[in-house]
């Protein structure tokens, strides 16, 4: 497992760049993922998606289904892709510090 340092803070990540421990999430992590995912500027909409993902994860122990995320954020999937070019799994969940999506992906 590799570690990355951003603004003086260290994070343990896996080979796909996902945070290894959700509890280590911090604003520096968001900044790191923003650079990695090629997002120019963080908007309130990004923060809203991240917050909703984290609330859902803390409450339910899983990441929401795409339809649920759409419904909770009131963003269409197309708009989520505009915010996070890699999509809700590789982009938004990574930024929120959630575990890497599993299954036949």
């Amino acid at each position: 497992m590799a570690t990355v340092e951003i603004n003086g803070k260290e994070f343990e990540i896996d080979e796909d760049g996902f945070l290894l421990d959700y509890n280590n999430f911090s604003d520096e992590w968001v900044e790191y993922v923003r650079q990695q995912e090629g997002i120019d500027e963080l908007t309130d909409e990004h923060t809203k998606v991240v917050t909703i993902l984290q609330d859902y994860y803390e409450k339910n122990g899983i990441a929401p289904m795409v339809r649920v995320l759409s419904k909770l954020t009131k963003f269409k999937l197309k708009h989520i892709y505009e915010l996070f070019p890699s999509g809700p799994g590789k982009g938004a969940c990574k930024m929120a510090g959630l575990p890497k999506p599993t299954g036949c992906v």
Partner: protein, 382 residues
């Protein structure tokens, strides 16, 4: 090698990005004789194993030479396929749904040179690069999966078992002596990617040990509810445990006597690996088909509960497959698929003539419909 840019700018990933263009349209690649006669074919004939002629209403003919492909191919090999296509077929070639390669020519006198060229090409190890065959009532290519080449959940290897099996049944690839076509498929775990659940003979990777639990990381890298829900027998429940250093972590507990080693939980949760050198092996299934010819499509049924992984040639697996094919070719009527034959003679006779052992593992015990697979009749043969 030093980095060579394709023109993509990582600082502006969305700039000049082309997306949603789909695959190239199929008719861009038609040989002229196919494009001309599309939808106007009159009949076809298998001239010999691996060579088919289609005759159009206009009288045009197209000769197809089908050759075996190993599916996992290098670009060097693909380049050689292209060279052959350039030399004999005006640059056209196609791949079949079982990953064979088909070269098409538009007149009979082009067939012999093409066949001779194909037959002359041999790997330095001695294997044929382009063996001609795979048509009619024989054994064509084996639909298979990734195995130890690339996948993380396999219980056996795909390319290795397939090469071992095709070597054993190679004569049937190049001949058409069987009662009907016999499809062999391979999947390296019971995700069953491909066609194992509906093939005449199927090779399936199988585990025999429950998952190991990596408590320290489980809650960090898994979504625990997904791992619980992945289990078809509800053997997994949420739990808490104390690590060696005294911290209490969320994790799962597995009831081993309910676990049947499907590996679904590992698919969802990387902290539950279950691959094991001695535990893993192969299950053989038989009697499936997808066509509607005469009888309805069938699922294949488990006929050999376990064969150990015996790298690199899997002799006991190829031996069991050979026994089934021989018994089938001796016993079945013309046009009878392996499943039709087994159902006609009765599965008790199938096990007798194939000299396969019947064990309690083969009796269905999964949920309510298992009952339907038991014999509720006095009709059986001693």
């Amino acid at each position: 090698m030093a980095f060579i840019s394709s023109g993509y700018n990582p600082d502006k990933p969305m700039e000049d990005r082309i997306t949603d263009i789909g695959p190239r349209k199929y008719d861009e690649f038609y040989p002229s004789v196919i494009a001309k006669n599309k939808g106007k074919w009159s009949h076809h004939e298998i001239l010999e194993a691996g060579v088919i002629v289609h005759v159009a209403e206009s009288g045009d003919e197209v000769y197809t030479v089908r050759v075996g492909g190993c599916r996992l191919m290098t670009t060097t090999h693909l380049e050689e396929i292209c060279q052959i296509a350039d030399k004999h077929c005006d640059g056209h070639v196609r791949f079949t749904t079982r990953n064979n390669v088909e070269f098409m020519v538009d007149s009979k006198d082009k067939v012999e040179p093409l066949k001779n060229d194909l037959a002359s090409r041999i790997f330095s190890g001695g294997s044929q690069k382009f063996p001609i065959g795979g048509t009619g009532a024989g054994i064509t290519n084996i639909v298979h999966t990734q195995g130890w080449i690339h996948c993380h959940t396999p219980a056996t290897d795909a390319s290795g078992t397939v090469k071992a099996t095709m070597d054993e049944v190679f004569e049937d690839f190049q001949s058409m002596r069987l009662p009907a076509k016999l499809r062999i498929s391979m999947a390296c775990c019971l995700n069953m990617c491909g066609a194992v659940h509906c093939s005449d003979i199927a090779i399936l990777g199988y585990h025999r040990k429950p998952p190991m639990l990596d408590h320290e990381y489980l809650d960090k890298i898994c979504e625990i509810p997904l791992a619980i829900k992945a289990c078809p027998t509800a053997a997994i429940r949420p739990a808490k445990t104390k690590l060696a250093d005294g911290t209490e972590v969320k994790t799962v507990a597995v009831k081993n006597e309910r676990c049947m080693f499907c590996g679904n939980c590992y698919t969802m949760c990387p902290s539950m690996p279950l691959a094991d050198t001695e535990g893993d092996g192969i299950v053989l299934m038989a009697g499936g088909k997808v066509s509607n010819r005469i009888s309805h499509p069938k699922f294949s049924k488990v006929v050999v509960a376990f064969i150990p992984n015996d790298m690199p040639r899997w002799p006991s697996m190829t031996d069991a497959i050979k026994k089934m094919i021989n018994a089938y070719s001796n016993g079945a009527n013309k046009y009878e698929r392996l499943g039709d034959w087994a159902e006609r003679i009765g599965w008790e006779k199938f096990f007798e003539v194939c000299e396969l052992d019947f064990s309690h593992h083969l009796i269905d015990d999964f949920r309510q419909q298992a009952y339907m697979s038991w014999r509720q009749s006095t009709q059986f043969k001693f």
